[in-house]
Symmetry: C2
């Protein structure tokens, strides 16, 4: 069994790295906060007997050799970065629980056939560059030069530049990629971030599929002008057009059963109280487990947005930030998770993930399995995010049981 107290203390302890004044944490990739949290967690990895290194895209990796040195590696992991003012569990639980799992194997003197690597992936959230799962894309071998040169943070810094500033050379990033037959599969424990487990009164769930996040950037070009002297008639106000589009997004997503559409970032230019907005930029995060449904909603939104903009004399530009396909989780791994859960007396239900996860980048190459721990009120990306100590420990034990089975 895992050490429940230590797991809980470590989750609590990481809170102070990037703590905001508003109860949450902000830990963006390639920042001082990320460096600090990685240094602390690499200490935890070493304590658990792991051999630690960082790969070319900044993934923190702790390796435990298997009985069979040439055997495929079992990857287990999650992430340490956060959204702005996010919670303590989204990411850290999965990394710290994986470390506890190998520590438990170590304590029990159990060596698995396959080597195990615990990975803390670089920038899963996409909070800094509006482009996420950077570390897992690197390991999958699909992080491109275009990716690291196109996406910029709020200060205009590209991923490549941010990597450089943090001591990573993007020109060597292909060395992070793993061959198809070098990896046996990927297992992750994460908080559910939804309410299904809570409503089912179950601490742990087994994920069958993950919704695919599509991130778009809308730019509306209107005409700035004086707020006091420009009559309402004839204005080309980029923000008024935006308001209409926001309501279309809410409505179109709401018409479907499981589609969600969110505008989380919005900037007004030039941004003076007495200046009519000449330009507005905003992001759309659109998801569904069914990619056809999601892309149909996308098309409806864009068509209606174009009509709105035409009627108002506004120029509309829509750019894709990331378009991730939904993923189906591996059936064998689901079966092993079921066995492990049963061993701990749990009747782990099958759930679907509305949130994206690093495993999405691996699904074309390797079997992917995910466990969810129950979230309080389904709240996430918010300081109130919470999973109880008991649920964390139970989920970590099911993770341990799954790793033990899969790595043998």
């Amino acid at each position: 069994n895992v050490n429940a107290d230590r797991l809980w203390q470590r989750i609590q302890g990481l809170h102070e790295i990037g703590a905001t004044g508003e109860g949450g944490v902000t830990r963006f990739s390639f920042t001082a906060e990320e460096r600090t949290v990685k240094d602390i967690v690499s200490g935890f990895m070493r304590d658990a007997g792991l051999v630690v290194h960082e790969d070319a895209v900044g993934n923190l990796i702790g390796r435990r050799e298997g009985l069979n040195p040439g055997a495929k590696v079992v990857l287990v992991g999650s992430h340490l970065d956060s959204v702005p003012n996010g919670g303590d569990f989204d990411g850290p639980l999965g990394v710290l629980a994986a470390i506890e799992a190998v520590a438990a194997l170590e304590a029990a003197g159990i060596r698995t056939k396959h080597p195990i690597e615990v990975v803390a992936f670089t920038d899963e959230e996409g909070a800094r560059f509006r482009f996420g799962m950077i570390g897992s894309r690197g390991i999958a071998g699909i992080l491109s030069d275009a990716d690291v040169d196109t996406h910029r943070d709020g200060n205009g810094i590209t991923i490549r530049e941010a990597m450089q500033a943090a001591g990573f050379d993007a020109s060597g990033m292909s060395s992070a990629a793993r061959e198809r037959d070098a990896v046996k599969g990927y297992i992750e424990l994460h908080i559910e971030q939804g309410k299904v487990l809570e409503q089912a009164l179950q601490p742990v769930g087994i994920v069958s599929g993950i919704a695919g996040p599509l991130w778009l950037k809308f730019t509306l070009h209107g005409d700035a002008g004086h707020a006091g002297t420009t009559p309402m008639k004839g204005r080309r106000d980029a923000l008024s057009a935006t308001a209409e589009i926001l309501l279309v997004i809410e409505q179109e997503a709401g018409l479907m059963k499981r589609t969600v559409g969110t505008v989380g970032q919005l900037q007004v230019h030039p941004g003076g109280v007495n200046i009519i907005p000449g330009r507005v930029e905003f992001t759309l995060d659109l998801r569904d487990v069914d990619v056809t449904v999601r892309d149909e909603v996308e098309q409806k939104i864009i068509t209606k947005a174009q009509t709105i903009c035409e009627e108002r004399g506004i120029l509309l530009q829509v750019d894709t930030l990331q378009r991730v396909a939904p993923v189906t989780c591996d059936e064998q791994l689901q079966g092993l998770m079921k066995e492990a859960a049963t061993e701990f007396g749990l009747d782990a239900p099958i759930v679907v993930s509305g949130a994206g996860h690093d495993g999405m980048q691996f699904a074309d190459k390797w079997p992917v399995g995910m466990l969810f721990a129950r979230s309080k009120n389904g709240v996430s990306h918010h300081p109130d995010e919470y999973t109880s100590k008991e649920d964390c420990a139970l989920a970590a034990n099911v993770l341990l049981g799954t790793i033990f089975r899969f790595a043998n």
Copy 2:
């Protein structure tokens, strides 16, 4: 007559102080740009024979003595600050034309009975603190401790703190105030920022009244959450509620003949692509020459906004940033302006100002008169703001004729 070439060169020359990469200028109060532009203009004032000082709120003042030393002073002025990415004429024309007017009196060896003071007022636009006409409020004696301690810029710096950093001590600001019987009246030349003069084919207009800007700040408190895992139903998205309110503002202002309503600033918190907006702040700039109409529209907007927020479970807070009453210009000064215009062969029409001006702060205490110079396409608060060299010179000449009459 004024020196038309020098006036034009000086207007062009100031462009480089605070020039943005986008064709406009950004000159906020109590910044290095403001310091530079004031230093340059104080040189122009000295060249015109003025005795220059800065008062306790940072107004730059050049004084020309009158024949009668104890006589009331005639104030003439405008401002040198700008909105973000604003134009070259809004403000500078009035200051530089006033300097040209006294330079012309000097060149002609004419001394008026009343002393004349040319004033470049501190922060007319309100761009930095969302609170404008700071210098003229100081001279009117109505700038309060609450004003300088409440209003903050985008970095949380109060007016008092910004003054301090620029070398001004707000605790002594009452020394900037002028006694009621120390001032004969206030005259300003400004660009129209509207299309009335252009459509009337007239270079110069006489202002009869000024619309009163009401600036409100709306804060909507909803609930942040994960964009991927939170179903559309049951969300308390502060930005969706905002979108509805923005359309109400556009509609309610549009229903009235002359009301204008503009949302120029909007911030989304926490501002992650995959986070439902938990809080939105935006400003409303609402104006009418008829204060009753304006305040009725305000009430309609707030009532509808409250209903929208209630239906969505959003907490709404509305704060007043500034509530300036509309102003009627002095009839005697309008008469003198008419005479001066006629002298230059102009049939200056009566116009109304949709934009606010420093004179608004004086109207309860002293006669206020304003001249407008024709604006190209009515564009202002925009890099395309333009008034021709000929129109600038004609307007400056009418200003000179008005000052000459009023100061004698």
